[in-house]
Amino acid sequence: MAISLKLNGKTNEVEAEPGTPLLWVIRDELNMTGTKFGCGVASCGACTVHLNGEPVRSCQTYIEDVEGAEITTIEAVGENPIGAAVQQAWVELDVVQCGYCQSGQVMSAVGLLSENPRPSAEEIDDYMYGNACRCATYQRIRAGIQRAAEILEA
């Protein structure tokens, strides 16, 4: 089926079968590789994108359900102030190690700060629970979100 996909402010006409996860349309059809495949069962968060501003797992989001929705990926999230602040904090604190999960971490962190500009450590943990990091960079993710909140307040 032909689908009109509004992604990062641009409309893309893509051809995909119903039931195709948004993840694979982004990665294999649009060749935008910042969104990662980690588990395929919405259990690691590496594939997180924003759907109308809300973080979703793109591996369990089907293409027929997103027509008309505003989709944002890691490639464009830095264009909004919250995304830019999170990315700046990530660099300041050297949050990353292998980095493979970090697109998803950043997308979830932006989602959190969008609804809660000053989250406590516990609120961060609750919100970020679904984003696994096999390198265990969690302490820096927590600090990075708090640093981004500071940047946004300044």
């Binding site: 694979w24 990662k36 990353v96 292998c98 609750d126 696994a132 096999r134 265990a136 820096r140």
Partner: protein, 726 residues
């Protein structure tokens, strides 16, 4: 990969102009320079525009060598970190070998910094001296009057960017023994302000992992594998996949180990693979269950060990223990564990215009797949190229002695007409179920204490599945029948334990075994440090004081281990946990580095244990990038704790029971609180940091749980013992 895209542009331009200074070692080990990069594969490459690139011989799985080795070059060349980029080295075991591995290029054993520290500094220093000599010749001054700082060469009467002297320097011979900076002159080495070079790209999605390689007209291949190891594919019926859009075809791999499914994209390959009907020959397939593995190991622990590892008088040791005032005894069991790097295994293979093969891979030991691919395609070694890109974690998994996934890619590619590149992709289920695991091990230890609480005998039996036997590493790691990786951290511990006997028995494998972050230390540290804790409690002596009594020797080995133990205890306020909290401590040497950790928990095993804080002290010699070291300790602690809390791989009739993260649950952000890392100042040569943070973490947690609940976890994972984590 060159991270800075503008620098990539510079590189291309400079290469076209042909004026490039490259400095590295010749195959005979001598430093050399050349103006032609194709003649000499270098460690540092300098263009006439002043652009400097460090060529990194180790792969980056997050542990930081791209930042670390670049720091070494920048330090000796007098550059700031924003004046230098990096690129991963091509596969060339003569030039880019790991000097601790012999003629093999590869990363492992936490050796990247240890084997590169002098080599990369020498390359940077040689480049500096040649540039200074060239400037001195140009200005007709003595080179000793010149210095280089932030990329500018200056003397009493002149100053100019180093790029102006690249052509002249390229005509000079490399100095045999360039002067290295004295540590007092270091501006970058040891500077906590030096940041990772890959942070920005990994935070904004532009970092290119193997999974992100997109070659023109590429296909995706996935492999349908048997449920039981060693089953072979007899026939495949792909009719069920015919209607799947993007499906190309399916064929049995030449070694019959599986069926390759080719498709236009990953989703189609996944669906098509599920739709295949495959007939397997299971006559030689693995049928054992993990219960049988455990039974075999526990039985081996009750028998005389095959190998007397430290040549002890076992009868005398047993007699000392039998005659002791108190005997502390425990039997431990460690299950199979998967590595589960965040990026599922994958690589892309293609044919080059000259009929050679090019592999794009987050490649941990390039020499092994390089040779395997040359053999599969019957090509000369030099007709195979490997382009190393970022790896999304490994923890040992990308370093198989069999080059398992690269061989799969090559075999799949050999089924095609080679006109289209093939991207081999594994799913998470493939990753968890495909048979390479931290081996299962058991330990049985008896410790005798006299009336003063001193150890009078320590009988320690180890039984488990050898990693090294039957691999190309056997001659390197197995001596007199003993696979060192099975017992490392026991008989070679810096502890001076009187009357110690260490024995080893190999048991049969039901899966492939593979080094897993910290290898043998993953189980030996647990046993040594839990036994120390149990013995200290039985002796009525503080666990830190008890350990220090066996670290009183004059050797650096004891002093450094005692040093981190005392530092961690001090920083954790050992003995005075916050209200409602309990502490546990462990200390272990691995890969040349010494690490002590104090885990502070709240709650108890019944109501829920929460890991509030981990305090860590590390002595890894000279700390090149202190913040990278801290990050590796943080990550190593999380890796050790997460798996030992709740993970195991089990088999039923040879079939792996786990599928994906829901039943092999990763450590989550909610599982672990603050981690506070302290680095011991040192002038010793740098040693590893990727692995040594892992071994003490689980025993420190186990000792904290014991302090909180009087519950000893001796069979992992902890949750199987009734420990509930809040």
């Amino acid at each position: 990969m060159t991270v800075n895209t503008s620098r990539r542009g510079f590189l291309k331009g400079a290469a076209a102009a042909g004026a490039v200074l490259v400095v590295g070692v010749r195959p005979d080990g001598a430093l050399a320079a050349s103006s032609n990069p194709s003649m000499l594969t270098p460690f540092v490459q300098i263009d006439t525009n002043g652009s400097v690139t460090a060529i990194i011989k180790h792969f980056e799985m997050g542990q930081g060598p791209s930042t670390g080795l670049t720091t070494l070059i920048a330090e000796e060349m007098g550059l700031s970190m924003d004046q230098i980029g990096y690129d991963f080295a091509p596969s060339n075991p003569q030039v880019y070998n790991n000097t601790l591995f012999g003629p093999m290029q590869g990363t492992g054993g936490s050796t990247a910094m240890a084997n590169s520290y002098l080599q990369y500094r020498q390359a940077g220093a040689a480049a500096r001296e040649m540039l200074l000599q060239a400037a001195a010749d140009t200005w007709s001054v003595d080179p000793s009057t010149l210095s280089i700082e932030d990329g500018v060469i200056s003397g009493p009467a002149n100053a100019a960017p180093l790029g102006q002297f690249v052509e002249a320097a390229a005509a000079l011979d490399a100095p045999a023994e360039p002067r290295l900076k004295d540590p007092s002159e270091f501006r970058l080495i040891g500077n906590p302000g030096v940041r990772r070079l890959d942070s920005a790209a990994k935070g904004n999605g532009t970092a290119m992992f193997a999974m992100d390689i997109r070659r023109p007209n590429q296909m995706v291949a996935m492999i349908a594998r048997p449920e039981q190891q060693r089953a072979t594919a007899i026939s495949v019926d792909a009719s069920g996949a015919e209607g799947i859009k993007g499906f190309i075809n399916a064929a049995i791999l030449p070694n019959q180990a599986g069926v390759a499914v080719f498709a236009e994209n990953t989703w189609a390959a996944m669906q098509a693979r599920d739709a295949l009907s495959i007939e397997w020959d299971t006559s030689n397939a693995e049928t054992r269950s993990s219960d049988q593995i455990e039974t075999d190991i526990r039985a081996a622990l009750e028998a005389e060990p095959t190998f007397n590892v430290n040549g002890a008088d076992v009868t005398a040791v047993q007699a000392a223990i039998d005659g002791a005032d108190t005997v502390v005894e425990e039997t431990f069991y460690f299950p199979l564990l998967a590595h589960a790097p965040m990026e599922p295994l994958n690589c892309t293979i293609e044919q080059t215009d000259d009929g050679g093969i090019l592999l794009h891979d987050g490649c941990q030991i390039p020499t092994i797949p390089h040779g395997a691919i040359a053999q599969i395609f019957d090509l000369a070694f030099e007709k195979v190229q490997i382009k190393t890109v970022l790896a999304g974690g490994s923890f040992g998994r990308r370093a198989t002695p069999s080059a398992d996934y690269q061989v799969e890619a090559a075999l799949a590619f050999s089924l095609t007409d080679r006109s289209r590149p093939v991207h081999l992709v594994w799913s998470r289920e493939d990753d968890l179920r495909s048979g390479y695991y931290r081996p299962a091990f058991g330990h049985k230890v008896r410790v005798g204490l006299n009336g003063s609480g001193n150890i009078v005998g320590w009988e320690h039996r180890v039984a488990g599945q050898s990693i090294m036997k039957g691999t190309p590493f056997e001659s390197f790691a197995v001596h007199d029948g003993v696979d060192h990786s099975s017992i490392e951290g026991t008989s070679d511990s810096p502890y001076q334990i009187p009357g110690a006997a260490f024995g080893l028995t190999d048991t049969e494998k039901a899966t492939s075994t593979l080094w897993w972050r910290a290898v043998g230390h993953t189980h030996t540290a647990y046993v040594m440090e839990v036994m120390m804790d149990m013995a200290a409690k039985a002796a009525g002596i503080d666990p830190v004081e008890f350990r220090l009594a066996y670290l009183t020797g004059d050797e650096a080995d004891q002093a450094r281990k005692a040093g981190v133990l005392k530092l961690a205890a001090e920083k954790a306020n050992w003995g005075n946990p916050a209200e409602g909290r309990s502490q546990g401590i462990a200390v272990h040497k691995s890969f040349g580095s010494y690490v002590a950790e104090v885990v502070e928990v709240s709650g108890n095993a019944d109501d829920g244990i929460r890991i509030e804080k981990v305090t860590c002290a590390v002595d890894c010699g000279i700390a090149v990038n202190p913040d990278v070291i801290k990050a590796q300790m943080e990550g190593g602690i999380g890796y050790g704790i997460g798996h030992n809390m709740r993970d195991k791989i089990t088999l039923t009739d040879g079939v792996v029971d786990q599928f994906n993260f829901p039943d092999y649950e990763p450590l989550r952000i909610t599982d672990i609180g603050e981690i506070d890392v302290h680095i011991v100042p040192s002038a010793e040569a740098p040693t590893g940091v990727g692995e040594p943070g892992t071994p003490p973490a689980a025993p420190a947690l186990a000792n904290a749980i014991a302090a909180a609940s009087d519950l000893r976890v001796a069979a992992l994972p902890m949750e199987d013992n009734g420990v509930f984590f809040a």
